[in-house]
């Protein structure tokens, strides 16, 4: 009763297409007569229709070609090439540092390299922590923006305020994170010591795994908030009110109305954060002050320091396999393509 909708309020459903269904019988007759009078037009229309149909396969092809060509040449070909090179032989001084001779030695040397696996494990841990932290800390933000902010103007304004840092360079943001904020002399330690919370500056804040993990949350949480915000803002507020009016408590409403709606957003966000943190290279390098390793920095050191492309490629392939496995696991939680 209390939440009865106002007739003037724009409803959530699109303009009713059904209102035109009541045709006068006389009108139909008139139309038929009109059509009968002009058979050529009808024929032409029908003809165009079939031509249009036949055309449409070609049309689709035409629309798809430029993008497909670009993606093929700049995405699929390079990725295929990483796989190929990972099976080729490293040779110092050869053209591009390898020769075309099939071998498994790149993989076997990595498989026995405990440093690589340790880094893989650390990166994986970092990614999992980042995903969990982004979900936990990002959800209230998205929830607030989507369901608690009342006017559209504020909603958009605050959302853009939260989103704006995404448009600035990750490198710059990493630098801003590392030097002015963290570290022994950073603002955070200065604030903590002057407030008397700690006596000594915490050394672990700078150039450490802890700092890298905190920064990952800071840098990538927007990739979680954005999809969550979009899915949550599709929650019908009147459904929430209805749930409450029907006596559902907060927890139940949350579980049965909000969570199902938010699930696809959470899945997309988790994929983003997982993949971006796992494959990260420059952020770890800046924030870890070249001391912290991730899979990305391992690939880089193979390539830039050792100039061993086949080995770098092999470690990259393993990283991609880990990424695909992770994404596969995450997508099991929701059918994305249907939800999008």
């Amino acid at each position: 009763m209390s939440s009865s909708s106002n007739p003037e309020r724009p409803g959530p459903e699109r303009g009713g297409g059904g209102s035109g269904a009541q045709l006068d019988l006389g009108e139909v007759e008139q139309a038929e007569a009109f059509l009968a009078e002009q058979p050529p037009t009808v024929e032409k229309a029908l003809g165009e229709g079939t031509v249009g149909l036949r055309k449409s396969a070609w049309g689709t092809l035409a629309w798809a070609t430029p993008g497909a060509a670009w993606l093929g040449f700049f995405l699929l070909a390079p990725l295929t090439f990483i796989v190929l090179v990972s099976f080729w032989t490293y040779e110092q001084g050869a053209k591009s540092g390898f020769r075309v001779e099939w071998t498994l030695s790149n993989y076997s040397s990595i498989l026995h390299d405990s440093v690589y696996w340790n880094n893989m494990l650390t990166s994986f841990q970092t990614s999992l922590i980042a995903v969990a932290a982004c979900l936990v800390f990002g959800f209230p933000v998205a929830y607030f923006l989507a369901l608690k902010v009342q006017t559209l103007k504020w909603q958009i304004g605050l959302f853009i305020l939260a989103l704006a840092p995404f448009w600035t360079s990750f490198l710059t943001r990493s630098i801003a994170w590392t030097f002015p904020l963290m570290g022994r002399e950073g603002a955070l330690n200065k604030a903590l010591t002057s407030l008397g919370i700690v006596d000594e500056p915490i050394a672990a804040l700078g150039c450490s795994t802890l700092s890298v993990r905190l920064a990952m949350v800071q840098l990538y949480i927007l990739f979680m908030i954005t999809p969550l915000f979009f899915t949550l803002s599709q929650v019908d507020r009147s459904a929430l009110e209805a749930a409450r009016d029907l006596g559902g408590n907060w927890l139940r409403t949350f579980k049965e109305v909000i969570l199902p709606q938010a699930a696809p957003g959470a899945v997309i966000g988790s994929i983003f954060v997982f993949v971006l943190t796992m494959g990260d290279y420059s952020t770890t390098r800046v924030i870890g002050c070249n001391k912290i390793a991730s899979v990305g920095t391992i690939v880089n050191s193979n390539v830039e320091l050792a100039v061993n492309y086949p080995r770098g490629a092999a470690s990259a392939v393993l990283l991609v396999l880990a990424l695909i496995a992770g994404v596969f696991v995450i997508t099991r939680f929701s059918n994305l393509r249907e939800e999008l």
């Binding site: 209390s2 629309w63 390079p78 607030f144 369901l147 608690k148 840092p165 030097f179 904020l181």
Partner: protein, 329 residues
């Protein structure tokens, strides 16, 4: 009559009470979450603001706190003006070249991203065989770590014995990254797009070309602009995809920033440069908002229509506060 008035009055009071209770309950969660949101914004912006402040240090300026005064703009001048005599090395010349390179490259990438994500999304509107696979390829573009893509590109091009450069390889890799975002923007635009409009245009006698030009394009213009902006800003800020193709003369701004960071000679001019590139990115967003707002005015449409086109769609519309009719009743 009198009885009726009384019942109406009491019913109205009960309604108002229920509403007050509801609002009090909502407020509690709202203000709590609002406070959290504020903290979040501080967490998000603090590093950049600290960096911005530190870029205005004096000649003694260092990388960390405390602020070593006096307040001055020497670090800003040192990245802008190559001729100004400085007691330290000025990178102004290379920064200027890098800025130009970055700007042209990002504009080109933005334009290509807009066109390609539009054409791709048009293909996806008509379902075709293998579109599921194609969708995964686009998702692959989103998920491939930038550094790996750069590595693959380098291997591929060196095997083809082609020379790599910013304009060949870096542009290609950045457009791939931008297409993924642009495509998602376009998909969400099409999902909220009413195809009956096109049907109507056809029924009224417009041929396919004319329908496309006069009906379809104007309606998805905002999405196209969004795709362009993604292409522009992602390229403007990219480091991972370009780092393997460094060449002094064609470096982009992020590469210059990276060079300043990793070579060790870090001074507050790095902060000034970082703040400057950030401001350009923010300016791009503001420009987009202005364009969207102007367009909304121009079309005389209610503001929420634009959000609809941007794909912020239905949810926002539903969430609009109901007109103040309830209180009157």
């Amino acid at each position: 009559m009198a009885v009726e008035t009384v019942t109406a009055k009491s019913a109205g009071r009960a309604k108002a009470q229920a509403k007050a209770v509801r609002e009090r309950r909502v407020d509690w969660a709202k203000w709590g979450l609002g406070g959290y949101f504020l903290l979040f914004i501080v967490f998000l912006y603090a590093p950049m603001i600290l960096m911005g402040i530190l870029s205005f240090q004096g000649i003694q300026g260092a990388l960390t706190w405390p602020f070593r005064g006096p307040i001055s703009t020497i670090w800003w001048e040192s990245i802008v003006d190559p001729d100004k005599p400085n007691p330290f090395i000025s990178h102004a010349t290379e920064i200027r070249t890098a800025g130009q390179n970055s700007l042209w490259l990002s504009l080109a990438a933005g334009a290509i991203v807009a066109v390609l994500s539009f054409t791709l999304s048009m293909a996806f509107r008509r379902r075709f065989r293998g579109d599921g696979l194609a969708f995964y390829v686009i998702m692959l573009a989103l998920m491939t770590p930038g550094y790996l893509l750069a590595l693959g590109t380098q291997l591929f091009w060196s095997y083809m014995e082609q020379s790599t450069s910013i304009w060949r390889t870096v542009l290609g890799a950045n457009v791939v990254w931008g297409i993924a975002f642009g495509f998602l923007v376009m998909v969400s635009v099409w999902n909220r797009y009413d195809e009956h409009i096109e049907e109507a245009a056809r029924d009224l006698g417009a041929d396919a070309k004319r329908t496309f030009r006069e009906v379809t394009l104007p309606l998805v213009w905002t999405g196209l602009f969004g795709a362009f902006l993604f292409g522009f800003t992602l390229t403007w800020n990219d480091y991972d995809r370009s780092v393997l193709f460094q060449e002094r003369s064609t470096d982009t701004l992020p590469l210059t920033i990276g060079g300043l960071t990793f070579t060790g000679a870090i001074r507050p001019d790095l902060y000034a440069l970082g703040t400057a590139t950030t401001l350009v990115s923010m300016l791009a967003i503001v420009l987009m908002l202005v364009a969207v707002a102007v367009r909304a005015r121009f079309r005389g449409a209610p503001v929420y229509r634009v959000e609809e086109e941007l794909g912020l769609g239905e949810g926002l519309r539903v969430s609009r506060r109901a007109p103040a009719g309830e209180e009157a009743g």
